[in-house]
């Protein structure tokens, strides 16, 4: 069978790679998956940018800095289907717990007045991405097509979702796979 493989790209923005680890928990099912799927830009490959014909983009983590915005836009532009994966992608998650502290206070605490800081200075290298005032969920920055809740979503969630999608069915998660933790 030589039918074209589905191109999947993945990335972690303001996340902890937990969702990626959980994806790897697919274990031997990964072997079945790569029969149908080819990985494009992803921490699992060495590809640095999405090719322009990706089918599915899986994004872990929320949007906390300018680089996240650029990467998210690259994914939106190049992936037909964009999926917010995990709590942080869906509502900002743990990183968004900084949202009730002003960014000014966060930076001061981290780089200026915190305990044990030597040579206090806010990093200003132009190579560094700047932080957004808040951590935003993905759907507030680009259009998102599907959401996989969980912290992280279990391997079964990825499996159920991807097999539905690959089979051309509208993905639907059974009750036990929908959880927010």
């Amino acid at each position: 069978m030589t039918s074209k493989k589905v191109k999947v790209a993945t990335v972690s923005l303001a996340g902890c790679f937990g969702c990626h680890m959980s994806f790897l928990d697919l274990d031997e099912r990964l072997v079945d998956l790569v029969e149908h799927v080819q990985f494009d830009r992803s921490p699992l490959t060495d590809i640095e940018h999405c090719s322009d014909d990706c089918d599915i983009g899986l994004i872990e983590g929320g949007v906390c800095n300018s680089e996240n915005v650029h990467v998210l836009r690259e994914f939106r532009k190049n992936c037909k289907i964009l999926v917010a994966v995990g709590a942080c992608a869906i509502n900002g998650g743990l990183p968004a717990m900084r949202n009730h502290i002003s960014l000014e206070d966060c930076l001061n605490e981290a780089y200026m007045d915190g305990i044990g800081i030597e040579n206090p200075q806010i990093p200003n290298d132009i190579e560094l991405p700047l932080l957004l005032d808040k951590v935003y969920p993905l759907h507030e920055v680009v259009k998102i097509d599907y959401f996989l809740p969980g912290c992280p979503p279990s391997a079964d969630v990825f499996w159920a979702f991807l097999t539905d999608l690959l089979a051309g069915r509208e993905p639907e998660l059974p009750y036990e796979l929908i959880h927010f933790d």
């Binding site: 968004a96 717990m97 949202n99 009730h100 959401f147 996989l148 912290c151 959880h179 933790d181």
Partner: protein, 239 residues
């Protein structure tokens, strides 16, 4: 002869004075709800229990049952809108489930699961809300309060104390505590009070009891909220 009305085509017997919710629960029909608990005076504020009564939207928890009513409870439209109302509650507060002790046992979460909700849909408010950990046995995390007033009613109607109230207008509403300092530790609340155990979300928690039940054995890990609610009808939820 018993009086009856219909919910989704099923005959429901009722007694004069009963609400649609009461009659439905007694007949084993689940109507989604958050601010309702059969122990207390109905409140009618979350609007999750909205059903169509002869074509008109009514809150089942407050609307009286009457002879021959034709009630629609489960429909695509109603459930989709219930999902939107639930999403409103999620974006209004700060519900970071992975770091909440109530997760797995939370009714807000369970209703969301029941309605197949996978995202919060709306933009988040990210309002700055406080935590009050002053009390030795009970803590309040205002980030998770959905203003259902169950704690208010429990304190007033069961504990006879008036420890809690909801204050303010519109989106600025907040739960407040009846003590001079405004802190829970200076209130009359006791860790054994009904009000300390009634919160459907993780807004009021009993200290030192978190995460004691392993994942997989929590209330809503496998059971839908409809079954749980119907089974525990009439009992105090101490989750």
């Amino acid at each position: 002869m018993t009086k009856t009305f219909e919910i989704d085509g099923k005959k429901i017997p009722y007694e004069e004075g009963q609400t649609i919710m009461q009659a439905a629960s007694a007949a084993g029909v689940y109507i989604a709800h958050l601010c309702h608990n059969p122990q207390f005076t109905p409140h009618g504020s979350c609007k999750l229990c909205t059903v169509k009564v002869n074509g008109r939207n009514c809150s089942a928890c407050t609307f009286p049952a009457s002879e021959g009513q034709n009630v629609t409870n489960v429909s695509k439209e109603l459930n989709e809108d219930r999902e939107k109302i639930t999403q409103m509650l999620f974006v209004e507060g700060n519900h970071f489930c992975p770091s909440c002790e109530k997760t797995g046992n939370c009714q807000l979460q369970a209703v969301a699961y029941h309605l197949n909700m996978t995202d919060n849909h709306y933009p988040h408010f990210f309002e700055n809300r406080e935590v009050d950990a002053s009390h030795p046995d009970v803590m309040i995390d205002h980030n998770r309060c959905i203003f259902c007033t169950l704690c208010v009613r429990a304190s007033e109607e069961v504990d006879g104390k008036n420890v809690f109230a909801i204050s303010g207008r519109g989106i600025d509403k907040r739960l407040i505590v009846n003590s001079k300092s405004g802190l829970l530790k200076d209130s009359e609340l006791d860790g054994n009070d009904c009000a300390a155990h009634i919160c459907p979300t993780g807004a009021i928690l009993i200290k030192r009891t978190g995460y004691s039940v392993p994942i997989g054995q929590r209330i809503y890990d496998h059971a839908h909220i409809d079954a749980v609610a119907l089974a525990s009808e009439g009992e105090v939820h101490d989750l």
